[in-house]
């Protein structure tokens, strides 16, 4: 034992009080995303091995799905933190809407076996728009993951130009959004009452949408029921 060990150390409460926890958490989320990459990468290797069987595939897909849910939350927290610090430059790039749809679709495909759900998509390959790919993907992946939880058997992903906006939709044939959510749109406060969720995902989506601006217009999200599949319909509108 060194003499220093016998001295009473600094008061932990005071020491902890000096820590900037938001910055600490943000840095830790960074590390968590790296770890998640390793974890999901490990699942890919399992995927390649033969002899897992149909039941194994479904369970593997469920693991991946849960991994993606964790990732959604990490993205949401980290992004909101960066927005708050003014440290997230919105990066509007002119790209085909199909690029985004393809990627969302490709990311969702490995998860489908968990729930026996089919996804279809529709987009005009020539339709190009200005959007921040990472923000839009964060919103839409989250919407797909919600739909995977609620859909009975079908999810539809589509993009089209409507009244000067790019409208990207995630529809399912589940029971639809609860009435409270529909009434309050993307308001985070109203979501605290619905099913014990924090509503962070919807709040994040609403902020991401609004960060897309074009002149006087700004983006928004819309939650409705019905649509082409009769269940919940999530729409991201980008100006």
């Amino acid at each position: 034992m060194t003499p220093a060990d016998r001295e009473p150390g600094p008061d932990p409460a005071r020491e902890l009080g000096a820590i900037d926890f938001t910055a600490l958490f943000a840095a830790q989320i960074h590390d968590l995303k790296n770890l998640l990459f390793l974890l999901l990468g490990g699942l890919e290797t399992l995927d390649q091995r033969t002899g897992i069987g149909p039941d194994g595939n479904a369970r593997l897909a469920l693991l991946k799905y849960n991994g993606q849910l964790i990732n959604d939350k990490l993205i949401q927290m980290l992004s909101l933190y960066r927005f708050n610090r003014g440290a997230y430059p919105i990066n509007l790039e002119y790209r085909p809407a199909a690029d985004l749809i393809e990627e969302i679709f490709a990311e969702a495909r490995p998860l489908l076996a968990a729930k026996s759900i089919a996804i279809s998509s529709q987009v005009d390959p020539a339709l190009c728009w200005f959007y921040d790919r990472d923000l839009a993907a964060g919103v839409l992946n989250n919407a797909i993951h919600n739909a995977l939880n609620c859909a009975r058997s079908k999810i539809r992903l589509s993009a089209a130009e409507e009244d000067g906006f790019l409208a990207i939709r995630v529809e399912d044939n589940g029971p639809g959004f609860p009435q409270e959510i529909i009434e309050h749109g993307g308001e985070v406060k109203s979501l605290d009452r619905s099913g014990g969720k924090t509503g962070l995902g919807l709040y994040f989506s609403s902020v991401c949408a609004r960060l897309h601006r074009n002149g006087e217009k700004s983006g928004r999200i819309e939650l409705t029921n019905g649509g082409s599949l009769g269940g919940a319909m999530f729409t991201l509108r980008l100006p």
Partner: protein, 555 residues
Amino acid sequence: MSTDLFPTKAASQGGQPINFQEKNFLVIDDVVGMRSSMRVTISTLGGVRIDMAGSGIEAINRLELRSYDIILCDYDLGGGKDGQQLLEEIKRRKLIGHSTIFMMVTAERGYEKVVSAVELAPDDYLIKPFAGEVLLLRLERLVQKKAFFLPVYDLMDRQDYRRAIQVCDLLMQTPGQHLIDLLRLKAEICMTLGDYAKARSLYEQILAIRDIPWARMGLAKSLFHQNNFGDAADIFQRVTEANPNYMEAYDWLAKSHTAAGDEQAAQSALTVATERSPRTLHRRKTLGEIAYRNDDLETAQNSYEAVLEFGKNSAFTSPEDYANLSRVFIDKGECDRAMTIMKDARKTFKNSPESLLHGAVMDSLAYEKAGDRESAEAELRKALAYFDLNESRPGKVSLDLGRACFQLGDEEAGKKIVQDFIKNNHDDKNIHRHAEDMFKKIGMHDKGKEIIRDSSRVVVTLNNQAVRLAQAGDLKGSVDLLMQAVAEYQENTVIVLNAAHAILAYMQAQGWNEELSQAARDYLATVKSRDPDNRKYLVLIQMYKDVALQYGLKP
């Protein structure tokens, strides 16, 4: 189970599937686990030729040995360079060609990735965690995009910018998703060629489509180059307000203020930037220079100290950085500290000629300030000897040496040194500002201004004379005059370029001349070694090719 109704990539965009088995991959990441995870992801695509690098240095070693088709580089490479700095070095050293795909991998998208020029940006970035499927899609699209732009980049590589613009125009007839990228690339080529009016109208065209920060930056830069500093500053200011982390905007804002003569405003702009991004060395250095000229010695000291502190373990510092700090201490009367700094410089740079020169000059100034005239004179003699021996006389060492001469009473030597320095940089406003400030600090403001003005005027007059000769039709007279001038002012890049220009114009009119064309080639090579991105140099390389072609010669 799933029914896949999605139109396949091949059907939607006509892309060819990539045979990844044939592709050479390089994965750059400092974490072993990440590298192996990356290997797994790549092998799911069918990739087998995968090399790994655990650091930037290792990556460069590998790139020197072989070429790669696809590079996946983590942004955070631990200590030393980050992924962006590594990419810039790779591009500058031309270790990868235009067909190589370089992807940056990050855990989140931060402001560091807002890169000024398309040329220095990665082809794409991936945010961890990502699925192999997404990597596949991105690579397929990049292969297509590369193929679309390849003809333009090939011409740019051959410095055939005029044809590169023509190809841009051709591609613009069917732009599709690449419309904005094409307009941006064309605007950047116009900037390279110094056609600022055209660049400006292209940026305005982009802004009419959508208000994008980089297009605003481009517009403001073209205004700056047209000497419209006020409007440029306004736009840069607005970019910083709307995008507080667009760091390059602060640098240009400061540059515009300085050019417009408002150094206080320039200093405030850089102070804000430094608070946001404290570790950027070049900005700290510029802030130090401006603060020093503004007589704000505290800020100058902090800035130069930060340059040495943050640059300690990198190749980013030079003896001049030590001299800058030493100069601040001398002005503050802290002569011991001033000399300690230069001792550090000699040690750090292992007594390189440059460090010995800077060291002797600063020591002389420090002794003079401390009142030890004898030692000051001894160091000055040493410094003058080093100065004559040194082939390149880097940066502001001439000004420090001139100052020592003036302060120790050798006005003739001082004047000669400063005159030579100004004559070799007759149109470099920044150097003139430093020189003027030096004179101001030793109480010779008016006399100094006169020396600067006269020295600069000698070269301007000579240059004008050559232009008048050429305009009057005496192209050979113009060539002779400028070639003489080069002999006298070898360090003057503008004169060297004008001499090359005169030769080319002469040959264009009067026929090819082997001896003169050799001189022109030498002049252009000299400039290339000093300043490979010099705009006039790039234009003259093009002109050289045109003239050679005119006489049926292979350039």
